[in-house]
């Protein structure tokens, strides 16, 4: 069984006056509702052009399980250095946040259907992202011919 651990450390000495903020958390990523580890991985390092909304990662139909019953994790890091550049990210045609240059994000993701894909769009200029999907039930798309 594979073991994947994800840890985070968040710290600030001056965000809350008079209090040093220190958050530390670590989790072993498991299959949905189970205590067995995730077994499949996709990674990438890609340039994203502006003006187009792209799908990142697999479709729901490329993940063999019941809808909403999949424990997958997505890591994305925006490798741009211009502070004004960002990647809009969202689900199901709904933008949720802006991943600015130098920022990273880490979220659980449950693909309900194909139109619940992860969507990204570069704003300000072309940007390069680094990403990784940790999942349990990825299947390859059927060949076109």
């Amino acid at each position: 069984m594979a073991t994947t651990t994800a840890s985070v450390s968040i710290s600030s000495n001056d965000l809350i006056p008079g209090s040093n903020l220190s958050i530390n958390a670590s989790s072993t990523l498991m299959k949905g509702g189970l205590t067995t580890g995730l077994t499949q991985l996709r990674t990438g390092y890609e340039s994203i052009a502006t003006g187009t909304e792209f799908r990142l990662g697999p479709l729901a139909t490329e993940m063999a399980s019941d809808e909403h019953n999949i424990a997958s994790w997505v890591y994305i890091c925006n490798k741009a250095t211009d502070d004004t550049f960002y990647i809009d990210w969202g689900l199901h045609e709904t933008m949720i946040g802006r991943l600015y240059a130098g920022d990273w994000m880490f979220i659980p993701w449950n693909a309900k259907a194909d139109d619940h894909e992860i969507e990204i769009e570069a704003q300000g200029g072309a940007q390069t992202i680094e990403y990784a999907f940790f999942a349990s039930d990825l299947v390859l798309p059927t060949a076109a011919s």
Partner: protein, 144 residues
Amino acid sequence: MATTNATISINSDISSYPVRINSSMTMKKAGSCHGLDETNGLRSKKFTGTSAAIIIEAAEYTADKAHKVYIRNTASNKEYFFYVAYNASAAAATTDEVIGKLYGGDWMLMPYDGAVNITVASSTTETQILEYMVFADVLVDQTS
């Protein structure tokens, strides 16, 4: 200007070569080199039912900014989870904008535009505690 740093480390033996992801960021305001300097603080909420609830109200945040949301399920049981969603009402399990499930011990950190609420729903009536914090770009002054 405050300085808030966040570091992620992912280690895995899924593939035949070790996966090591390490990344750090300083949380900055939208389009700026200045750090995020507002927060409502770290919050903790106990859930004993499956009703959906709003944990982050968009009205408290200026929309289309560079807020960041940290959420962790403090439970240790991997059987139960919280749905986490981006939804205007309290729907969490049934909305199209379910982001994912946070099982016991799981955490997430994501950019948030502050335009729509963040909602959650526990999968169980067993006690689960959620801790969460918003690192805000701009908080909206609340009127009485």
